[in-house]
């Protein structure tokens, strides 16, 4: 295994005609961690990864592996393993032959083929034509292709998409183990919930622009304070809150008041003599923060 290197995006941009698909992305992806590259469909994730891998020419800026572009790496597949969305296999070729072709084209030793087939659990079906593979099996074959060169960097586009619950559990452990070995692991997804159990860092883009970079926990910090309060005397509570100068939203669980501490609402209710049936600080959760960040991106467009 080659050592993991830092993936460096520097002012990376791509426009297709009038459409700005990727707009001035600058961030780093460090070795030893699993980094989630998140954004809704059409946010520019795949285009960004394809530019990183030399498949799409950037309009401006650069994406490198420790300063070296993919195409300039001496034996690219030995440094970087990649599996892209809609992993493209010739249907009439068996999995083993697919890997043999890839190993020979990428100048990797042929004896790695059986090693990676075993690693992803496809050894038993390796001589079947890929045409008969399920989406989950294709995902595993894509991962096997990426692992052929025992690379220090893994770039995987939507690797969890199409896996069954068992497969999801398996790949989470697998990616975590790869990162623990010091590799750089970058995985994209359009669902935070899909990757939040396996990623350490998140990079979120929306409409081609960077929306957030940080640890998974940093998403939580971006969360705003909200308090949920409810009372059997619903009308009186609403009146008292309005009189005290608070704005709130009506929800099934009660009234949701923004940017306050629970104790402040409790005092208002006490002063007005209103019995409360619920009073709690409400965390919106990572998914809500993610959605807020992603929809915030729309304002730029």
């Amino acid at each position: 295994m080659t050592a993991g290197v830092t993936i460096e995006f520097d002012g990376l941009s791509k426009s297709f005609g009038a459409v700005q698909a990727v707009d001035d992305l600058t961030f780093h992806v460090e070795p030893g961690k699993v980094t989630g590259f998140l954004g809704p469909n059409g946010a520019g994730k795949t285009t960004t990864l394809r530019m990183l891998l030399g498949l799409v020419q950037p309009t401006s800026g650069s994406a490198t592996f420790g300063g070296v572009p993919y195409a300039k790496l001496p034996v690219p597949a030995a440094t970087v393993g990649a599996a892209l969305e809609a992993a493209s296999f010739v249907p009439g070729r068996t999995a083993r032959n697919h890997l043999r072709v890839h190993a020979s084209a990428a100048r990797l030793p042929a004896n790695r083929v059986d090693v990676v087939l075993a690693q992803v659990g496809l050894l038993d079906v390796a001589d079947r034509r890929v045409a008969g593979y399920s989406l989950g099996m294709r995902q595993r074959l894509g991962l096997a292709t990426a692992l052929l060169g025992d690379p220090g960097v893994l770039v995987l586009d939507e690797p969890i998409n199409g896996l069954d619950p068992e497969g999801i559990k398996w790949i989470r452990g697998f990616l975590t183990a790869l990162a623990a070995e010091g590799r750089t692991v970058l995985i994209s997804s359009h669902l935070l919930s899909e990757v939040q159990q396996s990623v350490d860092e998140v990079v979120i883009i929306a409409k081609g622009r960077l929306a957030h970079v940080g640890t998974l926990a940093s998403l939580d910090a971006a969360d705003t304070l909200r308090v949920v309060v409810n009372s059997p005397e619903h009308e009186r509570l609403a009146t008292a809150l309005t009189a005290a100068g608070y704005t709130f939203d009506q929800a099934r669980a009660g009234l949701i008041v923004h940017d306050v501490e629970a104790i402040d609402i409790g005092r208002v209710a006490l002063a007005a003599g209103i019995p409360l049936s619920a009073l709690s600080r409400h965390r919106s959760g990572l998914e809500d923060s993610f959605l807020a960040l992603v929809s915030g991106g729309e304002d730029h467009a």
Partner: protein, 274 residues
């Protein structure tokens, strides 16, 4: 250099790890074998050829049963097979989106295309051998049965066989370039079949009507193949006066291959792979 060698090796592996190559090879063998044997039997037994009074018929029979003409079926009707295989090798990459793993494995796209051209040149030569086994084996056998010397002891016959293999190899290369110019698989197949089976024969016939067009018609790919390999039934039909010499015909095919591959490289091959 090593990346080019790796490209050649993996392109060979790509051809031999799917079923298309032997499917086409089988049809090639049957098609060429039946045509060569059928023509030999048919023309050797033209009614009246054996009788002394039918001097004209005998001359026709002798002309049509020259072993070279029979063996030339390998290329005159078989050349469409290496072109098709070459075109499928390139268009398949676009169709199955396998350009993504291909260019990930080797980001030097020029090397990948050259590797493909060279590998399919090799497979084209293999198709040449298969087609000649059919035309010489079955066609020559039919001649021998009909009492005509198949001329297998003649060095000219073996020179023709060698040139026919070369022609099939060059057609494999042309197919690769063609596929890069026309990445739509269906489109490429239609163009190859329409051109080789219909457009080119008509053009050759039409070009033979005046001297000016005839001198241009010599450079049509099928005419160049005949120049390289030896006269075929097409050349006899269009009765061209000054065909190219064999090596000029070979150079024309090589030139067509290089130009088509360069156009493909400059257009579709360097595009973003999305």
């Amino acid at each position: 250099m090593t990346s080019l060698l790796a490209a050649i090796r993996s392109e060979f592996l790509k051809v031999f790890t799917t079923r298309v190559w032997w499917g086409l090879a089988l049809i090639l063998f049957v098609y060429v074998g039946f045509a060569a044997a059928g023509a030999a039997l048919l023309f050797a037994n033209i009614p009246g050829a054996a009788e002394s009074s039918g001097a004209g018929a005998q001359a026709t029979s002798e002309m049509l049963t020259q072993p070279g003409l029979i063996y030339g079926f390998a290329t005159s009707i078989g050349y469409v097979f290496p072109v098709l295989l070459g075109a499928l090798a390139t268009t398949g990459e676009f169709r199955h989106q396998s350009l993504t793993p291909t260019f990930l494995a080797n980001p030097n796209r020029g090397h990948v295309l050259v590797g493909k051209v060279l590998a399919l040149t090799g497979v084209g030569a293999l198709y040449g051998v298969i087609a000649l086994v059919a035309s010489v084996g079955l066609g020559g056998g039919a001649l021998a049965i009909s009492g005509i010397d198949p001329m297998l002891a003649d060095s000219d016959t073996w020179a023709l066989i060698g040139r026919a293999v070369l022609a099939m190899a060059l057609w494999g290369a042309i197919g690769v370039g063609l596929g890069a110019v026309l990445p739509s698989q269906v489109g490429a197949i239609i163009v190859v079949l329409a051109f080789t089976q219909f457009v080119e024969p008509l053009l050759r016939l039409a070009s033979s009507f005046s001297e000016v067009t005839a001198s241009i018609g010599r450079f049509l790919p099928g005419a160049a193949t005949d120049a390289l390999v030896g006269p075929s039934f097409y050349t006899m039909m269009s009765a061209q006066q000054d065909a190219l010499t064999w090596w000029q015909g070979g150079l024309v095919l090589l030139g067509i291959g290089v130009v088509v591959a360069l156009i493909g490289y400059a257009t579709t091959w360097r595009r973003d792979v999305t």
